[in-house]
Symmetry: C2
Subunit: 350 residues, 2 copies
């Protein structure tokens, strides 16, 4: 399975992604094995409000890379619809666009309801595509608050897509996602209002938006000690505003050029390692969070947990007091965080 995946076998790829998405037991072993084979691909995040034409744009970007004989893996993330399925049909329809081309792979991912599950699945999905040898990985997501911040954490280049005529305002500004853009796109640039939208975006950029991506990522990684690089003496990256019409591919050459330039900028100023360190620190905290909660809950017997919830309900314990009570119970059970509870259990039993 792992060899097949590393050779880019599509069935192995599809299976691995399903394991990752379902948080299957086999996913973790696989991810540990393939991790040394990752880090080659360049990850592009594409985000924007509904109606901006993101998906068409992503298809067109993929076509452009294919013309250069570079391969493209696409993960379409749908964070807004945690409770419905149906993504598979969408994948099939989109794959028809790239029918018969082994150099493109598209996969949708939806949450299965667990908090933080989607960003974990996305990150792991990227690693699977990366290990399978794709040159570019595009993560496409609906433009909505927290999900963009998640993209910032995964992508090396973030493209924020805007379109004229989606209401009175520029959606990216309303949604506060200007700040995460490395590249801004005004798609559907043949519509009236495109000039106005581009002007507004440029004006916002001149007002000092966006805050430096680097700082933002540090901000999120603050719980772990992060080595801060000395203030670098490098030119600022100013997000270009690119106009495109995805339907006839206008402006796509400029967009690909902007992506290439941004990638070179990161390389030239040796930001890649620093940014990756920050991304990995954030991921470490997120995984720590999930792992530790699972182990505490496994260690403390159910009836104790139930009683604590009852005390919360009766207002005998405040929420933070309840957490402390739960952790004291965990310590009393001699819970060891470094080993899964079932191992401990076996030892206790015998």
């Amino acid at each position: 399975m792992i060899d097949a995946l590393l050779e880019g076998n599509r069935r192995a790829l599809a299976r691995a992604l399903t394991w990752v998405e379902n948080d299957d037991d086999r996913a973790q072993a696989l991810l540990n094995e393939i991790y040394p084979h990752t880090g080659r691909a360049w990850v592009i995040g594409v985000t924007g409000a509904p109606g901006t034409g993101k998906s068409s744009l992503v298809n067109v970007i993929a076509h452009s890379f294919r013309r250069r004989e570079e391969t493209v893996g696409i993960i379409a993330v749908d964070p807004t619809s945690p409770f419905t399925g149906g993504a598979i049909l969408g994948d099939r329809i989109r794959m028809r666009e790239h029918a018969g081309d082994a150099g493109v792979f598209i996969r949708s991912m939806a949450t299965r309801g667990s908090l933080g599950g989607l960003s974990k699945a996305t990150r792991d999905g990227i690693r699977v595509l990366d290990a399978a040898g794709f040159d570019w990985i595009i993560v496409e997501t609906v433009g909505a608050g927290q999900s963009e911040v998640d993209i910032v954490r995964t992508a090396q280049t973030t493209v924020v897509v805007e379109a004229p005529g989606l209401g009175d305002d520029v959606q990216a500004i309303k949604a506060g996602i200007m700040e995460i853009a490395d590249i801004l796109v005004v798609n559907k640039a043949d519509r009236s209002g495109a000039d106005q939208t581009a002007r507004t975006l440029k004006a916002m950029l001149e007002l000092g938006h966006p805050a430096s991506r680097t700082e933002m990522i540090q901000h999120h990684g603050q719980i772990l000690p992060v080595e801060r690089e000395p203030e670098a003496d490098r030119p600022l990256w100013i997000p270009p505003v690119v106009r495109t019409i995805a339907t006839d591919e206008s402006g796509v050459v400029e967009l690909i050029d902007a992506i290439d330039r941004h990638r070179r900028y990161i390389h030239t100023h040796e930001l890649g390692r620093q940014l990756e360190r920050q991304r990995l620190s954030i991921e470490l905290v997120e995984r720590l969070r999930e792992t530790v909660v699972a182990r505490v809950v496994q260690t403390v017997p159910d009836h104790h947990i139930m009683r604590i919830v009852d005390q919360l309900l009766a207002r005998e314990l405040a929420p933070q007091q309840a957490v402390d009570a739960l952790l004291t119970l965990h310590d009393d059970q001699k819970g060891q965080l470094g080993r899964p509870a079932d191992t401990q259990h076996r030892e206790t039993l015998g």
Copy 2:
């Protein structure tokens, strides 16, 4: 301070909310103290895409409750703008609408960048307003993915606001937030397209949307054992679709009536306790997550954490292996989760 807060003193209220928002050390002690005085208020979540007129609608709802001599606390949550300030100005402008009325209190809240920080601050902010004696608490948030799911977890009645003319589609459906609505509002109902929007929403409801709120909350609480109630023999709550024009208050009587009916529905079928148990279970997991990560990071010396991140970067450790290494280090330091690291430190030192 606590007495002043419980008496509804506005300066104490403002200070307490600032502590909560900044995650000030004093916030936790305060929250533990006031917790027994909470649980009286009814919490309404109001959400919808930008441009639907949520804020005006919330103001009008507040006025209606005031006419019944009931008091209203409002928390305006902005999850999409974690890196900018400026909310205070907005509060002042909105407060002018309710000038001189001690029965209304408005507060904006923005994240300070910490993951999960906003939902924690919102929940705690609700408790502060609740303890201060407000009859109704309205939590207003921009309609965007994860933030709605957070509202579902805090509010007892969730109102999803839609408006015609925001594009070709119904935003609530696109954003996948139909499913969290207890009440659907078509605001700006004098605009063309309002009939169409209302019809579409009703059609969606008939298609079986939304999934039962109760089930959804259980879904999120799955990591903790939740006592499942036997399948109750109660009528389904079918979200009404209410048309409003916030600017001239049309339809607001119907909206308030729908809110009152939903509240009675929860009471009549004794769902309140069950839903609160689920909300508290979810909160317990979220707090556990934050607390435990903070304690592990405090226990394990910085240079060990740095080395693990280096090994991640060098791809000598995969992410999950890095988490396990960190937890083993925590166990080796005899880290006790039930007590904050600084206490442990003092003990170790002597």
